[in-house]
Amino acid sequence: MTVTETENQGHHVGDKVVLEASDVTMRFGGLTAVDTVSMQVREGEIVGLIGPNGAGKTTFFNCLTGLYIPTEGRVTLNGAQLPPKPLKVVRAGMARTFQNIRLFANMTALENVMVGRYCRTSSMALTSILRGPKFRREEKATRARAQELLEYVGLGRSTEVLARNLPYGDQRRLEIARALATDPQLLLLDEPTAGMNPRETEETMQLIFKIRESGLAVVVIEHDMRFIFTLCDRVLCLVRGSVLVEGTPAEVQSDPRVIEAYIGGDDTDEDEDEEEHA
């Protein structure tokens, strides 16, 4: 856990608060998975979320995206309270990827991205059957935008490959492209480099920088400390559902409590994969 020099330092984080989560608490019966977590994310900022397995990171993501309705607390995006429906959260401008890849496996890369795009197009079932001029224009624009996004994440040559046949690293990048297709202002990445080799990890890091440069805010969950401390402007360390430490990468990584939580932790056996309970 050494500081890797950041390509990051010259970047100016905007003043505008994109996401504000205040005192978000999520209880499942007697288990408090997320305990009064507050987080602010500004425009153009990359925030890292770390913590041992079972710390509640993914559950917190699920609270943000409307998959779970938090027991207490509130989440606002650009000042407006988020409706507790995934569909509306996406339209409000938040998109995410998944810890365990969840692509539409039997569709091509291009189709996957096009599906992500559909929440921004307006034509209805009937117009799309009748193939009116508006539908054709929209469909063409959707296709073009999807192609563009695939090139943006470096999958320009795999557009017609079925998602399930893509190499693992490409699948993770395809998830990012699909999330970007929804035109988000905030991107949530759940372990974007899990299972990647060092070269792919490096490429992903560059991709996230590129995404941030385009004005998006990014929240990343990751276990790869080197990756997190290089990438992020700010890091939150979650332990047993609450924020243990929050600060710059340098502050967080030198905090003895963080090291304690990772090495001396006694709760590492808990199941992180709360999504399965959804």
């Binding site: 996406v90 539409f104 496996a105 569709m107 992500g116 799309s128 469909e139 699909r178 999330a179």
Partner: protein, 321 residues
């Protein structure tokens, strides 16, 4: 000659099964519900066509009446299917699988009885008010005869091809082509594929899953309504319980082809129809003839499922990695 004749008969019957089977499979593919009330949607389509005719064209037989009857049939079936989804299935979306299944059987009985009692008596015994003078659906009701279609046939080298047969097979071809186009080339179709592969992720990508489910019911109802009209033209009479056996056979066809897979439903329907026709035509002795045709149809189902439990084309595996 006999073989060619049975081939025609089989394809006709098969087309009818296929049109209905698509409704089972589309809905199953999206919400894993076996909608046992789908046979009744088919029956309501036939009655919708009849009602349209009685209301607007009573006594007329010219061919341009047919498209209007089809529109009427589709409108009735779609309306009932959408209401059914909204009132009965949506509240059970998160219930254990058995609950909607039993509900489906209940709706099936409910719709049958509603048509049986209510078709010529909308107030259900409260008064004898029958504003449109509809006949009772409890007996066989004659289906309108249409010029150039009913009672006319071609004789191709000894093989009798009814015009209504051509209508049925043609309807399947057109519907299958339309469905292919819809599923693979349109926004809603693609969203539908996404929902059937992973509903939760689809929702998180901004797809309105509830709306897609309604679309699935609408597609199934549309095809079932067209099948209802085809059946009416074919058999020349309809009744309130026509949906029961047809629905059961179509469900069998869907399972045979691989439930969840649209092309499986079409293939399964045609296979089932051909097996029945061939069994009637070619199995000699005690076990032959039409009394045994259902036995052979279900025997084929059992044999296929023993060796290919996922059906002929296999359900598209729902990946939830």
């Amino acid at each position: 000659m006999e073989f060619a004749q049975q081939l025609v008969n089989g394809l006709t019957l098969g087309s009818l099964y296929a049109l209905i089977a698509v409704g089972y499979t589309v809905v199953y593919g999206i919400i894993q519900l076996i909608n046992f009330a789908h046979g009744e949607i088919f029956m309501i389509g036939a009655f919708g066509a009849l009602s349209t005719w009685l209301l607007f064209f009573d006594g007329q037989t010219s061919i341009w009446v047919l498209p209007v009857m089809i529109v009427g049939a589709v409108a009735c079936s779609v309306l009932v299917a959408v209401l059914m989804e909204r009132i009965a299935y949506r509240p059970l979306r998160k219930a254990p699988r058995l609950a909607p299944l039993i509900t489906a059987i209940g709706i099936s009985v409910f719709l049958q009885e509603l048509v049986r009692i209510g078709y010529n008596d909308p107030t259900l015994f409260l008064s004898d008010w029958n504003p449109f003078g509809f006949p009772s659906a409890a007996q066989k009701v004659p289906f309108p005869q249409i010029d150039h279609i009913s009672n006319e046939f071609w004789n191709v080298g000894g093989v009798i091809i009814q015009r209504s047969t051509v209508f049925t097979i043609g309807a399947l071809l057109i519907c299958a082509a339309g469905l292919f186009y819809f599923v693979s080339r349109t926004k809603t179709g693609r969203a539908m594929q996404a929902v059937s592969q992973d509903p939760d992720t689809a929702r998180l990508m901004g797809i309105n899953v509830d709306r897609i489910i309604v679309v699935a019911f609408v597609i199934g109802a549309t095809l079932a309504a067209i099948a209802g009209v085809a059946q009416g033209l074919q058999v020349t009479n309809i009744n309130f319980k026509m949906g029961f056996l047809a629905g059961l056979k179509a469900f069998t066809a869907a399972v045979l082809g691989g439930i969840g897979n649209v092309w499986g439903a079409v293939l399964g329907g045609l296979t089932l129809g051909l097996v029945e026709a061939m069994a009637v035509g070619f199995i000699p002795g005690t076990f032959g003839g039409s009394p045994w045709k259902d036995v052979w149809a279900f025997a084929i189902l059992i044999i296929v499922l023993v060796f290919r439990p996922q059906g002929l084309l296999g359900a598209k595996v729902v990946d939830r990695a």
